[in-house]
Amino acid sequence: MEYHFPKLALGAAALALAMSLPTAVNAKDTVKIAFIGPLTGGSSAIGLGGRNSADLALKQRNANPQSKYTYELVALDDECKPNVGVQVATKAAADKSIIAGVTNYCSAVAISAVDVYHRFGLPVIVWGAVLPAITYGQKYKEVHRVNGTMINQNQVAAEFMAKQGYKKWAVIHDTTDYGKGHNQYFSESLKKHGGEILGTFGVMSDQQDFTAELTKIKELNPEVIFFGGLTPLGIRIRSQMDKLGITAQLQGTSGIKSDAYISGLGNELAEGSLAFLEGAPLEKLPHGKEFSDAYQKQGYAQPPDAYGPFAYAAMNLIMDSIEKAGPNRKKVMADLNQTHDADTVIGKVTFDDHGQNIVPLVSTYVAQDGKWVIWEDSEYATGKRKLKR
């Protein structure tokens, strides 16, 4: 074995050298912007959609001869796990050549990562996490958010469901801060509309088997099961509901509004599931069509999914700030804090004193024939199809 070693070593060296060819040098200065999201794991469809959208914004800006800098995307995968998220956040924030970040879909990750961003002074715009505490829990000047919070989502959801005539709920939520947040805000909103929660069940975010919880829920016999959590759990719960013969309606949050939910369950089982998402659907956004066309032209392997437009808007806001204030973290942060009525693909963006953008509209979606359809456009609204009881 000893005499093979030199050959192996030479081969390895050649390989290493071949793989590390220098990148092209540009005439303009290169500015790095980080993108953090779940690129693998159960929410990867949304994460990849966000990354592609941010990449689209970057490419468009680089193709524009008037931009002062060349932008480079540093995409990091947080796997939707808080500890990995903190690690990649540290990596991005500690790297002085990264000027800003478009960060986080998973709330559980974001709530822990904001401390890191603050510690290293990295200005970030959150593109998909909905937990209110991310912006409202502290006064870090580095943290901003373009999408709405779950407070709004759950208010609209409670109102909608009450209007549909439902009275009894069972709540299943995952035990991360995301699920707990949904539980808290939905319960509050529901009380105001007179709904009754028969039982609340916390489950682990990677739990496989829900027979214990669902068997108890079957005993309680609610009309609706509210699920505060993400797509992989949503798929399992819906499928096991069917297995146990539970006929209640499944009401989800923005966490299950993804194509992966429907493809994971199949059209039949997914049929009739409800979800809520802030912002208007892509077609109805002010610049939605242009975004959609440009996205198609780039030929990305995954669709932008629910939060793609938000990531796109966030990336553009950051690049606008860098063009104005230069590649300096403190200056970019100061400029972002001043954002007022900025025109983006999702509409006008203003950051309040906590860096939060107010998104007025929350859309209701229902899964119909294998697609998420806006409630108003669906056959459920017209009464042709009925939700479950």
Partner: protein, 385 residues
Amino acid sequence: MLHTLKPSRSLLWAAMVVAFAIAWGVLHAESEFEVGITLVAIVVVVLAARWLRVAPAVGASMNDHPRSLGWACILGVLLLTAAFYDDHFALLLLCTVLLYSVAGFGLNIQFGYCGILNFAGAAFFGIGSYTAAVLTTHTGTPHLLVLVVGGLVSALLGSMLILPVLRTRGHYAALVTIAFGILFKTFLEVNDTLGGPQGMRIPNMNILGWQLNEDIVIGDLDISFYANYAVLSLVLCVIAFILVRRLERSWIGVSMDMVRTDEIAASVFGVPIARMKIIAFTAGNFLVGVAGAVYGLLTSYVAPNNFTFSDSLILVSMVILGGIGNPWGILPAAAIILILPEKLQFIQEYRFLLYGILIIAILLFRPDGLLPRSIRNFFPGQSRT
């Protein structure tokens, strides 16, 4: 001429300078091009050493002058810290390598000396971190004491496993620690008092008033706060290393080796097997716990997902890769396992796969690891060249 190279102090220092240069290169390399060049440099050095037959002489020099080697290493790490004084990430990597090495020393006592398999290394690491989190958040315990308490709690919880570990052999013993590791992680995730899956934030560390989480500003120089931790980790690493070496050379160390080699023969000679195992297991967990406490303070965050079974397997891989029973091997092994995936982005995703294949290859072809443990030297000062 080179064939008759005699082992000497100067040869040792020369070798250490080369090692320092390589370490600096690895930590400094940013783009993949630079990383490639550094790797090529390493390969060239290793090949040259082999071809010029310098390696045995260098090895003998290291054996003969362990104290010089120790000082050279300490000096090297301090110089590295100074070289990267404002590079957050490089210092973070350095600290991580040092802390995981301390944990590796702990596992080495259990496994390399006494033959106890511990597949819950990451769990004990986590116990240290969580202890640090709870103590610093809720009590006013001085932070240096927190480190010690972290180790003690880790050792204490490990002693819950003592009875099954003592009574079982081989595979059954492995199962006990594996089950404990999973139990620990699941318990933390399910239980909300310690933060549940979200984990806990750990406040800043300060020792006697010196804030470790703030950058040190001296005039124009802005030294990264990680430098504080680098020095702390270095001190910890040195202490742990000295402890481990002393243990190995002591009567207890010899007894542990006997227990590992052949329990029945050892008991025939009157070696108190249970006591040796308890000492090894507890001392090992103590070291791992202290390392975990510092790591928690370093990252200001702890979550159950940091301490999965795969992480325990990584700790075990580190000990095997370095050479079972040889604490010197753990440092380069830790460096390889921790730094390489960070620097080579394209293997970052595949790193678990590569570790697994690497260890399988090692087990099949070179089970002694990188720096195999030399035969016990009963008469120090005389090396066999």
